[in-house]
Amino acid sequence: MKQKYCKDLWLCLHFQQLPVEIFTREQTEKPVVVGMKQRIVHMNHVASEAGIRIGSSVDAAYILASNLIYFERNEEKELETLKNLAQWAYQFTPNVSIRAPASLQLDINSSLKLFDGIGNIKTKIHQGLERLGYSAALGLHQTPLAALVAAKTGNSVLLETPVNELDIEQHIIDGLHRMGIHSLTDVLDLPQGGLARRFGASFIDYLQRLMGEKADPQQFISEQPKFSSEITFLSDVTNLESLVFPIRRLLKELCDFLIARQLKINHFTFRLAHRGHSPRSFSIHLAEPESDAAMFLLLSQLQLEKINDVQEVDSLTLSANRFFPTTSLSGDLFHGTRFQQKDGRTTSLADLENSNRLFNVLRARLGPDACFGLAEANDHRPEKAWKTVSQNAQGKRQEVSSNENARPMFLLPKPRRLRLHDGHLWFNGALQVLQGPERIDYGWWDYNICRDYFVARHSTSGLYWVFQDQRQQWFLHGIFS
């Protein structure tokens, strides 16, 4: 037999338990079954130990195990999960293809060197899947189809495979059985022409692709531009603090996703859902794009503490959809030591990291508006001569404007009306006008002000910035603190 396409090495991940595992990512000791039309089609091992069999009715299963948890089969979600798993497997090779309903095929020939052998890859996949809460049978072979067969049967010798394990239609299997043919070797011994006449060309095509006589092009997944992962809880979670563990798992998953693609994010969203209530979402915004799981967890916890209007949760989803490429910042040989920047400041990368970290933490707890920087604005009106900036860029120095007139350290958010007492300007005591006026007449396009500003001294000698408007009313506008 000619084997043309045998230089490849394919690893197949077969998720036998996927219909159940999409619901039971959390470990459970309860029997869980998945059914269609009141007939059980899949179950976890606890259920099978209880004596429940595939094909039996749900009622019968409830009699065997009263604490049974039943889910209707959700093939849409299975496919969705399989796609996510394919994205996860992307960290091992760029060539991942999905084979519905429950398998992934990885072309790992080119990754062997990177991971230093197939053994390492297998170990990493097993460990990774365990963390994610899934289990898969692994099969390794030279063609995608053979790898799938190996994963399903757990048998590394392809030729001994029984025909009923092959990925072919049931009537062909029956036909082969009637002919007294039970293993793949027997099939291959038969003349191909006869088989084609009896079972159709598609069967021969399958055999050729299985044995590597014919090319078997795969459609590889493309990079998914978004991340989304969901955990379903078997029983309702009423204590939000206990969500920390599933959150940690989801964030770990997110970070694996980011690291595999060399990406960072500055925004991600959690969604707490319950079948009986409308879902509640909360988002985490970061000052700078990051890919640090510990940081994400800290911020998520801070946000979680603030939520008090959610009583029950039965599923938790993490999603992120805006990504930034990692700037490949090479490690600092003298990490943590201070060095002089071009503008004469001493700084270190650690400072910058700490600063971003602080900013993120403050915003997570206090809300995005509670924390801001200041900048000068180009306007002569005192209340418009400044502005808040969301986060001031480090190291960007502003030109010092040269205003020779005195300006107070504190500005009142709103000018405060002052009265006259006995011919004195009065604010908790008499004010004595010292300097002025400085006339500010500006802003016809917006709202015009025409004010005369003075420096005034309080009787106990605090200094204030006051003005008189055109209606001769006096206001306090600033404090020379």
């Binding site: 004469g344 400041r345 001493t346 700084t347 400072d351 700490n354 600063s355 602080l358 900013f359 403050l362 206090l366 509670a370 924390c371 801001f372 920087g373 200041l374 000068e376 005192p382 400044w386 808040t388 001031n392 480090q394 190291g395 960007k396 502003q398 010092v400 404007s401 040269s402 205003n403 007139n405 005195a406 300006r407 107070p408 350290m409 504190f410 500005l411 009142l412 958010p413 006259l420 011919g423 004195h424 004595q432 010292l434 300097q435 006026p437 005369d452 003075f454 420096v455 001294r457 309080h458 106990t460 000698s461 605090g462 200094l463 204030y464 008189q468 001769q472 404090i479 020379f480 603190s481």
Partner: protein
């Protein structure tokens, strides 16, 4: 006296005032007189400093501004202002030389949050100075801030009312208005209540390098016969002979 000197050399005694001072160089305050009174000849670079004052507008921020300007220019670490009572006015800060890009304002909603912010900021090592105007703060909370600020190498300044008799803060300074009617400069009265290696100081006056306290010619007629008009409008139309403003030096 000679005996005392030799005794001190021999027996390993030392004066309390010399503890730390040589080793912990302070941050120059910009006011030589104040530097002389402060341990380490300047503001501390970490620990809690309490500024006690009852009135705004006596120069409590201007007293700090040279040091803050220096910190903002020399370090890329942040200067945090936590719940300031009014808007810290950027044009004035800029004029003092404070680099606005290092400044960060935080406005927590509750006292509890203020303390949380302080502890986070002090411990984060990413701030050179943290200024806060807490409403109420307990001694044990100040002790925690003291530890956090030492750990984070951050100077923490708390503005408090003068009725606080004692506190665990490392440096406590009482501030009161010091503008003398006849002085050209504005000034502030400073009394150090507590410092390392020294006793309570006497009250001394620190002069600012400005001309805020300078009086331009008589404004008294502005307020004679208040509500009506003739006088006031006349004054405002009159070209007032202003002494030219010297550019704010320093």
């Amino acid at each position: 006296m000679g005996d005392l000197e030799s005794l001190m050399k021999k027996s390993g005694l030392w004066r309390a005032s010399s503890i730390d001072c040589e080793f912990r160089q302070g941050l120059p305050s910009g006011f030589p007189l104040l530097d002389n009174h402060l341990p380490g000849s300047g503001w501390p670079v970490d620990g809690v400093t309490e500024l006690l004052h009852d009135q705004y507008g006596i120069g409590e921020l201007r007293l700090l501004s040279p040091a803050l300007a220096r910190l903002s220019q020399e370090q890329s670490r942040r200067i945090l202002l936590v719940s300031p009572p009014f808007i810290p006015y950027p044009p004035a800060l800029q004029a003092c030389g404070v680099d606005l890009s290092t400044l960060l304002i935080v406005q927590p909603k509750s006292d509890q949050d203020i303390l949380w912010v302080l502890e986070q900021a002090l411990g984060s090592k990413s701030c050179s100075a943290v200024l806060a105007w807490p409403q109420t703060i307990l001694d044990k909370q100040i002790r925690r801030l003291q530890i956090a600020s030492k750990e984070g190498n951050t100077w923490n300044i708390l503005f408090r009312k003068t009725n606080v008799r004692s506190s665990p803060a490392e440096l406590r300074i009482h501030l009161s208005a010091g503008n003398a009617p006849l002085s050209f400069h504005s000034a502030i009265n400073v009394k150090i209540l507590k410092r390392r290696g020294g006793w309570e100081s006497t009250t001394f006056r620190v002069d600012f390098d400005d001309n805020l306290n300078q009086q331009t010619p008589d404004f008294s007629e502005l307020f004679v016969n208040p509500p009506v008009n003739n006088n006031e409008t006349k004054i405002l139309q009159r070209p007032v002979a202003l002494p030219s403003f010297p550019a704010t030096a320093g």
